[in-house]
Amino acid sequence: MMWQSVSEFLSMGGRGFYVWGSYGVTFLLIALELWLLARRRRSSLTRLRQLQQLDRS
């Protein structure tokens, strides 16, 4: 373990903004993609079921 303290880890040699800005945005985008994917699945199924109802009637 090279980091002497949590604050040293967070500061990343003074460049914390860049490192955590990168990782932060990346994980945000991944989370966004996963959320959009789940939402697509839900709305897709809802619409498909509605179309099924219409087809039956």
Binding site: G13, Y23, I30, L34, L37
Partner: protein, 245 residues
């Protein structure tokens, strides 16, 4: 002929459903392992200090953005020559993930460039080619969204993906050429710090994690696409009626 068994959307749908969670778990485990290597095992770099740790996301994202585009081109060729619908579905499913990785590569590249080379955007050959790749992704997505007829949209997308793929080496070569002419002696992001092998391992682990993530997400996305496009078939209708999530 086992391979062609899964070329039908009907047989591929459940397979994708079983495989996606496996890849998702693999991705999560490898990501944690990769970050462990990257932040807790890899040493401080002599020239760049701690900020070089961005490469553990930047490089895998850049690799994936290019690899996904090549896979899209592959499925485009298969779809155009064999006429298999599933190939086009896979191509469409891959595009958003590829576009996101491309953006991540650009974003992290800019944040790496600022403390290291002094500017957020350095017009370096790699970043500039990455930017053009982003436009190619947007073009594919925009074209497939703009065409209403699904069959035409699939095939038009396949054509533009192929045309783009053929041009990527040309674009990359021309940007490199342009870069050497105009940048002269200034440094390039591609001249990464001479890699300690531990850094390389961290990057590779993250790259495989990204690949597993891509597979998981793409397989899930293609399941939605399959249901939407095959909804008139009996098996899909049953699936839609019965599916919980």
């Amino acid at each position: 002929m086992k391979l062609f068994h899964f070329a039908s959307p009907q047989t591929f749908y459940p397979l994708a459903g079983r495989l996606a969670p496996v890849f998702a778990v693999l991705a999560a485990v490898l990501c944690i392992a990769g970050l462990y290597i990257g932040f807790l095992l890899a040493p401080t770099d002599a020239q760049q200090g701690e900020v070089y740790r961005i490469i553990f996301i930047h490089v895998p994202a850049a690799w994936m953005s290019m690899f996904i585009y090549l896979v899209m081109a592959f499925w485009s060729i298969v779809g155009l020559s064999l006429g298999t619908r599933l190939s086009f579905y896979m191509c469409r499913a891959l595009a958003p993930t590829g576009a996101i990785f491309c953006f991540i590569a650009l974003w992290t590249g800019a944040l790496w460039g600022r403390p290291t080379w002094g500017a957020y955007w350095v017009w370096d050959a790699r970043l500039t080619s990455q930017l053009l790749l982003q436009f190619l992704y947007f073009g594919y997505i925009a074209l497939t969204q703009a065409i209403e007829d699904p069959r035409r949209a699939d095939r038009a997308g396949a054509i533009i993906a192929l045309v783009g793929a053929v041009n990527v080496p040309v674009i990359y070569f021309s940007v490199q050429w342009w870069n050497t002419l105009h940048q002269g002696a200034s440094v390039s992001l591609t001249k990464a710090p001479s890699m300690a092998s531990i850094m390389l391992s961290g990057m590779l682990v993250m790259a495989i994690a990204a690949w597993c993530y891509t597979l998981a997400v793409t397989l899930k996305r293609v399941r939605s696409i399959i249901l939407e496009r095959e909804r008139h078939t009996d098996w899909a209708a049953a699936e839609i009626a019965g599916a919980q999530r």
